[in-house]
Every structure is written in C-alpha cells, then in structure tokens.
C-alpha cells in the first residue's frame, strides 16, 4: 500500500500529461510546459503548507486567505521597505505557530479556529490593499521569470519544492517525529516529547510555506489583491489528498502533494486544450479528483484481499 501511495499520483499526472501532449503537441515545448505549470508553483507551495497541518491530524480552512495576505504584504511592504516586509513575514509565521499551540493547548477544533482566522487574514489583507494593486519586488519577479536551460522554471521549482519538503518531512529526524504526532500522539508523550511544541512547529512550517506561496504568486502576477488566493484553501486540501495523503494518521507525502497540485493545475489546462468550453474546467478538476480517489479505493481494496 505504501508504494501505491506515491505511484498513483505519479501515474495520474503522467496520464494527464500524456493526454495533453496528444491533444496539443505544441505544448510539448519549453514554453508550452512553462505555460502549463506556471501557476502551479504557488499552488504547490500552498498545498505543502496544508500538508503540514493535515500531517498533525488538523485541517486548515484559512490557508487561502493567509496566502492572499502574504501576497499583499509582498506587493506592498516587502517592495517598499524590505526589512519591514521580512519582519512582517516572520510575524505571520509566528502567528501560525501560536495558532497551532492554542489549538492544541485548549483542545479547540482546528476547523473552526482556522475558519475564524481566515476572516482575520482576509481583513488584514483588505487593510493593506483595499483595492487590487501593489507591485512585485524586482528581484522576485526576476526569480519567477528566470529561464533555466533545458527545463522550464516551473518544473525546476516544482522539483525543488518536492525535494526540499521531502528532506524536511520524510528524511529529517524532526520531520519524522512530526509525522509521529499524526500517527500516535500518546506514544510521543510517553517518549518524553512536548506535543504542543511539536504542533506549533508543524503550524510554523505551514506558515512558512504559506508565505512562500504568497511571494511566488506575486512574482508571477506582479500585483496582488486581498482575494487573490482564496480558492487555494480547497485546492490545497484536494492536492494533499490527491497526492496520497490521508486526513488522519500522519500519512502524508510531500512529493505526492506537489504532484497533486500539478495535476489539479494541469486538469484545467487539459480541458481548455480539449476545446471543451471553459465552463467545465472547474468541474473537470472535481471529476479528476473523484476518479483518482476511486482508483485509490480500488488499490486499497486489492491490498486488503491479498
């Protein structure tokens, strides 16, 4: 079963990519691929952020609003006064860690606390940027537009995100312990760990990747508005599950999460290449999500019977 966990997302992405190239051979080029996956970079970062939360058995309904806020901070303070901008980003990450600690210490339902926080993040974003605007810092735009040889930026970025988070969450000792929080928190308490600190750490990880998602998004769009990333909340949850993650038990895969985000992004492009009306783009994402999860169920049932 553990092998399938990563196999299935990979196969889903490969099938979808193959179909896209078959429908639209011109997409099989440096620029075509970049175009297909460009917007996937911030989504992948947001999905990784959501994964940090799901890893410790919680769920984050505020990540979309949080990424929007980070985007607004990037397009205003980080551009105008980089030091203040960086301090603000650090404060946002700390706020996330605090949210995790409070949720654990008071035994609050994460779904409601993050719901409330989504209003707070959204309000702060509106406060910063009441109307769409701002500007991306030059260096950030340069990074997002860089053209590495052979492989387009979007692919390099996706590989980088997947690699780094894999090291952090799967390979590193502390990441392993964090996954243990999702698996059996009592075992960690028995082994002498402070579960509240660990949860705060997981939330801080989510905050970090949320901030990065906001920055990447502004680097691509060059401007921000307070609602720019609201749909990331649902996309990120779907991406984690599509990538082989589960809501409980600390079973997540960072590489799978990145692939899940790519698959969701590609699903939209694929349908537009099929010259199916753009009306169905969103629906196609839903249908693909259901299809992949059905495939996973069939694999799991096989695993049970053998």
């Amino acid at each position: 079963m553990n092998r399938y966990r990563i196999l299935l997302p990979v196969v889903s992405l490969a099938v979808l990519l193959g179909l896209t190239f078959w429908m639209q051979p011109r997409a099989m080029s440096y620029f075509g691929v970049n175009l297909l996956f460009n917007l996937a970079v911030p989504i992948a970062l947001a999905t990784v952020a959501q994964m940090f939360i799901i890893m410790v058995n919680d769920i984050d309904l505020s990540i979309g609003a949080f990424v929007s806020l980070a985007a607004c901070v990037t397009a205003t303070w980080l551009n105008d006064a980089p030091l203040i901008g960086l301090l603000a980003m650090a404060a946002l990450i700390l706020a996330y860690a605090g949210m995790g600690a409070v949720i654990h210490a008071l035994e609050l339902p994460a779904i409601v606390v993050t719901l409330g926080m989504s209003f707070v993040w959204g309000g702060l974003a509106l406060f910063l940027l009441p109307t769409p605007g701002g500007a991306a810092p030059e260096w950030l735009r340069a990074i997002m537009k860089v053209k590495p040889p052979l492989v387009p930026m979007a692919v390099v970025a996706a590989l980088l995100i997947a690699g780094v988070t894999h090291l952090l969450v799967i390979r590193a000792g502390l990441g392993t312990v964090l996954r243990g929080v999702g698996g059996n928190p009592r075992a960690l308490t028995r082994a002498g760990w402070n579960v509240m600190q660990l949860k705060a750490l997981a939330y801080a990880g989510a905050g970090l990747f949320g901030v990065l998602a906001g920055m990447a998004l502004v680097g691509l769009t060059t401007a921000a508005d307070a609602n720019i990333a609201l749909r990331y909340t649902l996309l990120s949850i779907a991406g984690v599950i599509l990538g082989g993650g589960e809501f409980t038990g600390g079973k997540v895969s960072p590489v799978g999460a990145v692939i899940g985000a790519l698959t969701l992004t590609l699903a939209a492009s694929f349908l537009s290449f099929m010259r199916l009306s753009p009306d169905w783009q969103i629906g196609a994402q839903g249908a693909i999500l259901i299809l992949v999860l059905t495939a996973r169920l069939i694999f799991a049932r096989r695993g049970e019977t053998t």
């Binding site: 209003f119 779907a238 969103i282 629906g283």
Partner: protein, 314 residues
C-alpha cells in the same frame, strides 16, 4: 434565571451578542432606523439561517462531517430553477420543485461518494461541489434571467410586518426543532453524532440517518439559493460564495457542538442575525472592510474558546 441555567442554554449568547450589536448601532443613530435595521437583519439573516440549519444537521453527525458543497448547490439550484421559469408568470411552484429536486440530487450524489467510495465528507463534498459549479456555469451561460414578477414580489415582500423570507426561515427552524426534539429521526441523529459506534450497537440505523442528513442539508441549500435568487433579482455564479464560511460560523456561534451530537436551533437564528448586525454596526461606525473582517474572525474564535472553557468547567 440562574447563571447555571443561562450557560446550559448556549443560544442565549448568540442572541445577546446580536442584541448588543443592534443596540450599539442604534446608539450611533440615536434610535432612528431601528425598524429598518431589524427588518434588514431578518431578511438577510434568513438566508444564513436556512443554510446554517442544514449545516447544523450535518455537523451534528459528529467530527469530520461537514458539507462544503453548499455554495455550489445554492448556485446550481437557483440557476436551473430560474432557467426553467424563464421569468414567465405562474411558474414559481414548478421552479421551486426544480430547485428542491436539484437539492435531492446533490444530496444523493454527495452521500453516494461518502458511502460507496468511503471518501471523507470534506473531500467528497468539495470535489462534487466543483462539478456542481461547472454545471451551473454551463447551464447559465452568463445569462441574467429575472425571476417571475410574482416570485420576486414574494421574496422581497412582507407579511404581518416581517419579511416573507424570514417567515420561511422561521418555519424551517421550527420544523427542524420539532424534528430534533420530538421525532425518532432526531433522536437517532443526536445519538449517532455523540457516538456513532454506540448508536450502531444500540440498533440505530446509522447509515440511513447519515443519508437523510446529507439529503437535508442539500435541500436546505437549494431552497436558500432559490429564495436568494428571487430576492436579488436573478442568479449569479458567485451568489453562494459567502455562505460556505457563514454556514459553519452560524452553527458554531449558535452554540452547537462542533464535536457533534448537540445541536441548537434558536442559536442558529441568533447567530445569523448577529453576523448581519455586527457588519452593519461596524459599517455605521465607519469601519473599513478590513477591520470588519478582523473583528468578525476574532469574535468567532473568542466564542469558540469561551464555549470550550464552559465545557471544561462542567
């Protein structure tokens, strides 16, 4: 009433908060416009209350149960109903039937995904809602169809001084309250939400209860969509968007337990009024949209923390 009696009726807090917001607004206007404010709160609160009642039933089923497809269901039901009615007079009732049928279909589809594919409700309703959204976009095609005149007049009209939509919302609240307090099905739902395994072992038909609940929430959302489109002169693709968070917020503020098994019908109405009144209060004090949202979020979290410490004291 003793303090213990107060805290055992958590809906009092939502109503007190709503009254406070109402009073704070009137302080500014020196009492003028009280009637208009109350009327507006009842009109707009009705939609939040109707979807909130549905969401409350699902949340009562216990941890992990939530319907994220409410906005898409509202939009789809409204779009299909309006398209069928095509502004023709006399089509209001068949249009209502279409909307309710959409609700039933959506609920059945959601539960099929949850039951047959064993998907977690969050992900099942999320994935399905994307499809409903596309269906709505596809069938709407950017047209803005006006509701039949009679229906629009009903949706914006009043009866005995109260908005008609509020009467609908109140009637539904009464129905849900009776269902929960007096009916067999309500007992089964409350038992399943407290402890699904114990309910199954006590002979409660838990799968049937879950199915009926997911049908109910979708029908409520469909009805809210139908009324909202009639009220605001047509269906819009983003008409349901704010009701996703709203539906969960009114349930929690209303005093229902997010852990399930304990629902609170009066609280949903109180919270729905509060959510409208707090915004209009902040508006009348000249608060910008940003401040409004920050305060709303802070209030939601404060209420959750208060509710959890109340639980701890018992």
């Amino acid at each position: 009433m003793s303090l213990a009696g107060m805290t055992s009726k958590p809906w009092i807090w939502a109503w007190a908060a709503a009254a406070l917001a109402f009073a704070a607004t009137l302080v500014l206007t020196q009492g003028r416009g009280a009637g208009e404010l109350a009327y507006a709160a009842l009109s707009f609160g009705a939609f939040a209350a109707i979807v909130g009642l549905g969401q409350m039933l699902v949340i009562t089923l216990g941890p992990g149960n939530v319907d994220l497809s409410i906005p898409a269901t509202m939009t789809l039901a409204a779009t299909l109903a309006l398209k069928f009615m095509g502004s023709d007079p006399g089509t209001a009732l068949p249009g209502l039937a279409i909307a309710l049928a959409v609700g039933l279909g959506v609920g059945a589809a959601n539960f099929a995904l949850i039951f047959l594919l064993r998907l977690p409700p969050i992900i099942a309703t999320l994935a399905a809602s994307l499809i409903y959204q596309s269906l709505a976009i596809w069938s709407n095609r950017g047209l803005r169809i006006k509701p039949p005149t009679g229906l629009a007049e009903f949706a914006t009209g009043r009866f005995l001084g109260l908005p008609n939509v509020a009467w609908v919302g109140l009637a539904l609240a009464l129905m849900v309250w009776v269902l929960l307090e007096r009916s067999l099905w309500g007992r089964w739902l409350l038992a399943s939400g407290q402890n699904l395994r114990a309910a199954r072992l006590a002979g409660v038909p838990v799968e049937a209860v879950r199915a009926a609940t997911y049908l109910a929430v979708a029908v409520f959302a469909a009805l809210a969509g139908y009324l909202l489109a009639s009220f605001s002169g047509g269906a819009a693709l983003n008409m349901g968007a704010e009701y996703l968070l709203m539906s969960i917020a009114v349930v929690v503020i209303g005093g229902s337990s997010i852990a399930g098994g304990n629902s609170n019908v009066p609280g949903v109405w109180g919270a729905a009024l509060f959510m409208f009144l707090v915004v209009s209060m902040l508006n009348s004090y000249g608060a910008a949209a940003g401040v409004r949202n920050v305060l709303t979020g802070t209030i939601i979290i404060a209420i959750v923390i208060a509710a959890s410490s109340r639980r701890a004291r018992i």
